[in-house]
Amino acid sequence: MTVRRIAEILEAKVSTGEDQLDLEVNAACGADLMSDVMAFVKEKVVLLTGLVNPQAIRTADLMDIRVVVFVRGKAPTDDIVDMARENGMVLLSTKYSMFLACGRLYESGLRGGGIRDIA
């Protein structure tokens, strides 16, 4: 699924990375605690999070995650947008809650993927 399609489904605003909307992602991960992201995500995905702070961007960068969606209508502050731009990421904001945002993407065919087996 392209980032453009994700933005449409979530009726999202693009804060930075407009030039990368044709990027393809195969999977999504929703989390507010960054260690959960680092525990479960393996391959390139879109991260949905309610955590709007520099740590979210830093975690995404370490994980080579190129697309971050802030849920529940939270808009990133300028320092966060700058940080994401420097790292070449796409930032989206959607008014949908985590549950609804994940549900809408799932319904449209995006899956979890990139997840390690849990014992």
Binding site: D32, L33, M34, S35, D36, M38, A39, L51, N53, P54, Q55, A56, R58, T59, D61, L62, M63, D64
Partner: protein
């Protein structure tokens, strides 16, 4: 090549510097993305733990023949039960850190999972030392 960092307590703007610089150094050396990701995650989790749980500490990372060795040393409160601390989901992080995105209780297990060697030594009232090795 040796890298040294100081991590401040409660200082999250700087926490992450060691992992970012390690990431940069490894990619300059042409190390593959999967190994870089593993090293960065282990280092970042360690940095955050020192900032949140120990009031800061020192980090030494050595990139040598076929391996990265990371040693994180702090003089924080120490860990009374390391077995418990290594359990996925176990955390003593106060709620205000959860609002910042920490406290899943996944940091130490993430560090161990991403390393080829992982040792942790801790004494209550004295501090904690973590040694991690990743073969590159």
């Amino acid at each position: 090549m040796k890298l040294r960092f100081e991590v401040g307590g409660e200082d999250f703007s700087l926490a992450g510097r060691a992992s970012s610089e390690l990431k940069r150094a490894l990619s300059r050396l042409g190390v593959g993305p999967e190994l870089i990701r593993r090293a960065s995650i282990a280092m970042y989790e360690g940095e955050i733990n020192m900032a949140i749980h120990a009031g800061g500490g020192d980090i030494e990372a050595e990139i040598g023949e076929g391996r990265v060795v990371m040693v994180l040393r702090d003089e924080g409160p120490g860990i009374p039960d390391i077995g418990l601390a290594m359990t996925e989901g176990w955390s003593t992080a106060p709620d205000r850190y959860r609002e910042l995105g920490f406290g899943a209780g996944m940091g130490l297990p993430n560090m161990k999972r991403n390393c080829d060697e992982f040792e942790i030594e801790s004494a209550v009232g004295k501090g904690t030392t973590v040694r991690m090795v990743i073969n590159i």
